[in-house]
């Protein structure tokens, strides 16, 4: 009698202690603990320009971005010039991402036959998660050479007189999936200015906004406020509004702007168009990217 009872007890004990199916975990991945990851916010803008000015975004590492910027004449030129469509100024540019933070670029504009070159460095990247960074911060430094023939060849002209420079900080945030806002404190330095009334150093503050309308279309607006008493009163603050349309490999930017130039010293300190007076250009930028260096996967 004793043996079966003992064996029975032993069996119960055995099942009770072992029970391999008893300890089912509902959430297996939780066993690994929460992984610390940082989610970097991307696609704050469709491309590296808002309209004329730089956006928060950099060209990615190993990518070459070929840009065609085109501005027709002004709408107030009337029907004889088909509201500006008979005239055009352009800028051809190349932007290249050396790393995901460092981008360089060159360009050549019709306006003042200007050559430009810049470097753009992303200091802070907006992110959530392990590293929580509420804003992105980017620095841009550019130099510009006016290559027009000297207006007054008889006097002694220096090459340095052709040069101007721009330094910008771009502080911005993709507030949500739909809206990005950025502020751009800017310093423009012109080596030579036309009159004593103009400052060589011009301080300005830009603001850029992008509002997404759909997955592939955004509405962009850009305004640059030049602090008072630095440039002649006939110059206007640049105001631009436009649409970014992304089609995969291309971004088309269509816009209205009172600025003729597409480089910082030009559109910030030398904009003559007046929105109230129809001094508005219809224009577009086309961006086409090419992957030059494939990332390691």
């Amino acid at each position: 009698m004793k043996t079966p009872l003992f064996a029975f007890l032993a069996l119960i004990a055995y099942l009770f202690v072992s029970n391999p199916l008893g300890a089912q975990d509902d959430d297996l991945l939780a066993l690994l603990g929460e992984e610390k990851t940082t989610n970097y916010i991307t696609a704050s803008f469709k491309t590296n320009r808002v309209i004329n000015g730089h956006s928060l975004e950099n060209t990615h590492a190993g990518v070459l971005d070929f840009k065609i910027g085109h501005r027709f004449g002004m709408l107030n030129q009337g029907v004889y010039d088909l509201f500006g469509l008979d005239n055009a100024t352009i800028r051809l540019g190349l932007d290249y991402g050396i790393t995901n933070r460092l981008q360089i670029g060159i360009g050549r504009s019709t306006y003042q036959k200007m050559l430009d070159g810049y470097a753009k460095f992303r200091i802070l990247r907006q992110s959530t998660g392990d590293v929580n960074m509420p804003v992105s911060l980017t620095a841009v430094a550019g130099m510009y050479v006016n290559t027009l023939k000297w207006a007054n060849p008889d006097r002694e002209n220096y090459f340095s007189s052709r040069m101007s420079y721009a330094w910008q900080l771009i502080l911005g945030r993709k507030i949500n999936d739909w809206i990005t806002v950025q502020l751009t404190p800017t310093l423009i330095h012109r080596n030579l200015v036309a009159t004593l009334a103009e400052d060589n150093d011009v301080y300005a503050l830009g603001i850029g906004i992008r509002q997404r309308l759909s997955r592939r279309v955004t509405l962009n607006a850009e305004y640059t406020y030049v602090l008072p008493d630095q440039i002649l009163s006939r110059y206007q603050n640049a105001v631009s509004v436009g649409l970014d349309i992304e089609t995969g490999g291309h971004v088309f930017q269509l816009h209205l702007t009172n600025a003729t130039a597409m480089t910082e010293p030009g559109f910030i300190t030398e904009t003559t168009g007046d929105w109230m007076d129809g001094g508005i250009h219809f224009g577009f930028n086309i961006s086409r990217v090419f992957t030059i260096v494939k990332p390691k996967i």
Binding site: A23, T42, A43, H60, R215
Partner: protein, 186 residues
Amino acid sequence: MKKILFLVLILSGLLVQTQAQTQKYFTRDGKIQFTASTPVEKIDATSKGTTAVIDASTGAIEFAVLVKGFLFERSLMQEHFNENYMESDKFPKATFKGQIQNATSVKWVKDGDYPVKVKGTLTIHGVSREVATDAKISIKGGKILATTKFDVAVADYNIKIPSVVADKVARIVTISVEAGLTELKK
């Protein structure tokens, strides 16, 4: 004598229990690749940061991958994948939670290749659907390699392909998984 037998039984029970507890395998760097290529456009991406856990005692299986962890050859494509298709800020992870149907046929401590059937819930882009696929579990020297390949229809997960790129993006995406798992020690 009987007391010794009893003790042995209890001890062996404990032993089995410990074994059952450690019969979980995991990885944090499993590889998932997918292709949505068409004749006109090569669309391939790879993530090497897949986390996975397999419970050998029950056959339960879970995978999770960060959508932003998928790397493309073309970074703009990667940006569009996250921004326009997967909405990865909103749906940061893709997960699979399921069960090996014939878990008992796998000898977890014995080297060999074991074909298995896996069934469970695949969640992509916030949409969960039941899927079933054939997979293979290869065991070699205590390490487990889990591999599978299956197709998903993009439309099933509420991912819209706009008409402008309709010819360029495949509607059926092939996903391959290759995860090397090691024993999870608590």
